[in-house]
Structures are given as structure tokens and as C-alpha cells.
């Protein structure tokens, strides 16, 4: 087993890093390259960049900022946002991204998953899932980049992760929308259910607020834990977090 991964997530708009709470009220917090370097230097294992508006606006993400990041970063990173076809995925990978993460376009046209997996391998295809609980049932939301566009995809989360991995998705980022940005901890029960449903690595996302939240996600079997607010706002320092998790007996790359 590899070391468990700490993965800062950066929301990107027009090549700038922005931060919102519960997917809204975004404010500019700086240049993508500055943030990428800061996290690399602090010991992040991987980075995820989401173009937060591309999918909702129905356009492809801009690859200029991917190239700028790839030039300076020597750790893996995934990009997401509005990747609707093989050519767009190829453009992201050619610009230097290691993986593409697809979410709404995969819901629109699930065959997209297999198309990218066949051309580049499953390890390049990350499925982003925005899962929202209502009355004890978890369902997948679509177009979550803007509140106005968000809608139910008509799919149950466990059904969708099984189908998507059968089609060739090599990793799942499970974002629990109820928890996003509020720092109350990952949804461990839902995370465990998704991990049990698939054989690919699962990344926990949405809700990290304290070091123990990361410990709980890894204890549940998450391969990585993704967070934004606690790292952006320097509530948790990555070196301290890794030190703490190592003392809990969790393998960390340091």
C-alpha cells in the first residue's frame, strides 16, 4: 500500500485561486502557481485544481494555467472542469496534468469515462462525485460549480461509483456536499460505503476541519484526503498534520 495522501484542492477561476463556502461566494486568494509551490514545499502529496465555472458555463477549461503549474511542480496534479471529450482530456495531459477529473460531463455521457481510460489508461481518469444526502439517501448532484445551475443527476451515489469504475474510472473523489466548507469532519459512514463499493482508490473530500478528521478518513480506508479551507486559511499546517498522522500509525511520505 502506498502512503496515504494529503491533497490540497484549489478552486480556479480565470487562472486565479478562489475560495468559497458551500460552493458559493468566491473570493480571489492568489495566483495558481504561487499556491501550487507553497503546497509542494509544505509536503502535499498531490494537488487538485478545479476550474469552478467551466462545467456550469458549458465551456472547456483553459490549459494555459495547467502549463504554468506543470513547469514548476514535481508532484502529481489533477485538473477538473468542463472536460467533455477526449481532445480536451488530451489537451490537459499534454499541458502537463497527470490526471483529469470528470464530474458533470461523465453524468451527461458516461461513455466519456471509457474513452479517456482507453486512450490514456484508467490511472488518468478520476471521477469527481458530488454526493448530497437527503432523507438518508445519497444522490449525485450535477453542475455544482454554481448554485443556480446545480441539479439532481437522477443517480444514487453507490450505483454511480460502481458504474463509473466498471467503465474505467481509476479513482474516485467523493465530495460530500453537506459537509463542504463547514469543517465538521468528513462523512465517514458514506465514505466507508463508497470504499466498500469499489476497488479503486477513494479520496475523501468535504468537511475537513481538524487533524482527527484526516485520521478518521484514513482509518475508514481512504487512499487520500482532500481539503481546501483548512490549508488555505492555515488552520492546519501540512507538516504538522503529517507528523500527527504518523504518530497515529498511518504511513505518511515525509
Amino acid at each position: 500500500m502506498p502512503a496515504r495522501r494529503i491533497i490540497p484542492c484549489l478552486d480556479v477561476r480565470d487562472g486565479r485561486v478562489v475560495k468559497g463556502v458551500r460552493f458559493r461566494d468566491h473570493r480571489d486568494v492568489g495566483d495558481v502557481v504561487e499556491h501550487a509551490l507553497r503546497y509542494r514545499d509544505e509536503g502535499a502529496d498531490e494537488l487538485v485544481f478545479y476550474d469552478i465555472t467551466a462545467s456550469a458555463e458549458g465551456r472547456a477549461l483553459d490549459t494555459a494555467w495547467i502549463d504554468r503549474i506543470a513547469r514548476v511542480i514535481d508532484i502529481p496534479f489533477a485538473v477538473a472542469g468542463g472536460i467533455r471529450g477526449l481532445d480536451q482530456a488530451a489537451a490537459c495531459l499534454d499541458a502537463g496534468a497527470d490526471k483529469v477529473s470528470i464530474n458533470s460531463p461523465a453524468l451527461e455521457r458516461p461513455a466519456l469515462i471509457a474513452e479517456i481510460a482507453r486512450a490514456f489508461g484508467s490511472q488518468c481518469v478520476v471521477l469527481g462525485v458530488d454526493s448530497l444526502e437527503a432523507d438518508g439517501d445519497y444522490r449525485v448532484k450535477q453542475y455544482t460549480g454554481s448554485v443556480a445551475a446545480t441539479r439532481d443527476s437522477g443517480r444514487r451515489t453507490l450505483d454511480w461509483v460502481r458504474e463509473a469504475t466498471d467503465r474505467g474510472a481509476g479513482e474516485i473523489v467523493l465530495n460530500c456536499m453537506n459537509r463542504d466548507g463547514v469543517r465538521g469532519g468528513y462523512d465517514i459512514a458514506h465514505l466507508g460505503a463508497v470504499i466498500d463499493a469499489v476497488t479503486v482508490p477513494v479520496i475523501a473530500s468535504g468537511g475537513a476541519g481538524a487533524r482527527d478528521h484526516f485520521r478518521d478518513a484514513f482509518a475508514a480506508g481512504a487512499s487520500g484526503a482532500l481539503a481546501a479551507t483548512v490549508f488555505h486559511d492555515r488552520i492546519i499546517a501540512i507538516p504538522d498534520l503529517k507528523e500527527y498522522l504518523a504518530t497515529c500509525g498511518i504511513e505518511m511520505r515525509r
Binding site: 509542494r40 506543470a70 502529481p76 486512450a119 476497488t199
Partner: protein, 193 residues
């Protein structure tokens, strides 16, 4: 020094190119057999599945060029798998520079596939630039047979050859271009070999 990266069309080669640029070498991306045969160093990156990549190699007339290449040749990720006799992935015949078969990793309880993330290495040959205990980044669903060519190992349910060397042929199952300082040391050693 001329460093050629074999260009098979689609390929996740942006990050490999940039990693060499960081080391002060500007690679050429080429599928031209003559250009590849004349290069001082050749890098074979991975593209899609093994059968797809081998078809691209053979239709461009590159199979014999790579088999006969006399100077350091580095296969990265799928590119390393292509150096072996055969891959279970779509049952592809490969370049047969290294004896062995490439087999699918099987998921088990607590063991996900793809093998994705940073794994710790046990290094048998420090001349490759890697050191015992280094963490390097992996992202693969198939792995080569462990054998006499293995010079660095990781573990993912079974021993995973992380780096191999036989004569002038070098391979990295991990991604040196995305493995921080350890990956850069590995690429430096390849350039200096």
C-alpha cells in the same frame, strides 16, 4: 546531448518533457526512426494500453530501432512495461528486451487498484540515483514480473519492480517526473549514465 522522447501521438508526455527541461536538457519529441536511432538518450513514455502503444510503435517502424538502440534507453510507466516480453493487457507482444511478463494487479481487501500514490522503495543499486526509503509516485494497474533486472522495489500486495536495469536498458514503473527530488535524482543519473 540529444535526448529523444518517443512521440506516439496521444501521450501524457508534457510532464516528462518539462522534468528534463528542469534538469537543463531540452528533449526533442519525435517518431522519426532515424532521429531516434541517432539520439544520445531515448525515453519511451507510456501511452494508453500496451497493445495500443505497441501498434503505434510498430506502425511507425520503431520496434527494431528501440530493440537495437545501443545507448541508454529509459521506459517510463507503461514505457517500462513495453520493454518486457509480453503484457496481459489485451495480450500484447512487447519489445522483448527484458525477460518476463506484465501482469494485472489484483485488488484485495485494503488493497486498491490502480496502485496510486507514493510508495516506499527498497533500492538494490544506488547507482540509479534512488536511495533506500525514498518515496516515489506510482499510478498503474499492471506490473512487470520481479526478476534479476529489478534494481528498486516497492510493495503493493506483491513485490513491484519500481526500477529495472539490464545493460543499456533502464525502466521506471513510477513517475520520476512527478516524484519530487528522488525522481529528479533518478532522471539525472539516467542522463549521466
Amino acid at each position: 546531448m540529444t535526448l529523444a522522447i518517443v512521440d506516439l501521438g496521444y501521450g501524457n508526455i508534457g510532464s516528462i518533457r518539462i522534468a528534463f527541461e528542469r534538469l537543463g536538457v531540452t528533449p526533442i519529441l519525435t517518431a522519426d526512426p532515424g532521429e531516434i536511432a541517432r539520439a544520445d538518450r531515448v525515453v519511451l513514455p507510456g501511452v494508453g494500453a500496451a497493445a495500443f502503444a505497441m501498434a503505434r510503435i510498430e506502425e511507425r517502424g520503431l520496434g527494431d530501432v528501440l530493440r537495437a538502440f545501443p545507448r541508454p534507453l529509459l521506459g517510463i510507466c507503461l514505457g517500462m512495461q513495453l520493454l518486457f516480453d509480453r503484457s496481459e493487457e489485451e495480450d500484447a507482444a512487447c519489445l522483448a528486451l527484458i525477460e518476463g511478463v506484465v501482469r494485472r494487479l489484483e485488488p484485495a481487501a485494503g488493497l486498491s487498484v490502480p496502485h496510486m500514490g507514493w510508495s516506499r522503495l527498497a533500492v538494490a543499486d544506488p547507482g540509479c540515483g534512488l536511495a533506500d526509503g525514498d518515496y516515489v509516485y506510482f499510478a498503474h494497474s499492471y506490473a512487470c514480473d520481479d526478476g534479476p533486472a529489478t534494481i528498486a522495489r516497492a510493495d503493493h500486495g506483491r513485490p513491484i519492480p519500481a526500477a529495472i536495469r539490464q545493460g543499456n536498458v533502464l525502466g521506471a514503473q513510477f513517475h520520476p517526473e512527478r516524484s519530487g527530488a528522488a525522481g529528479a535524482r533518478f532522471l539525472r543519473a539516467f542522463l549521466d549514465s
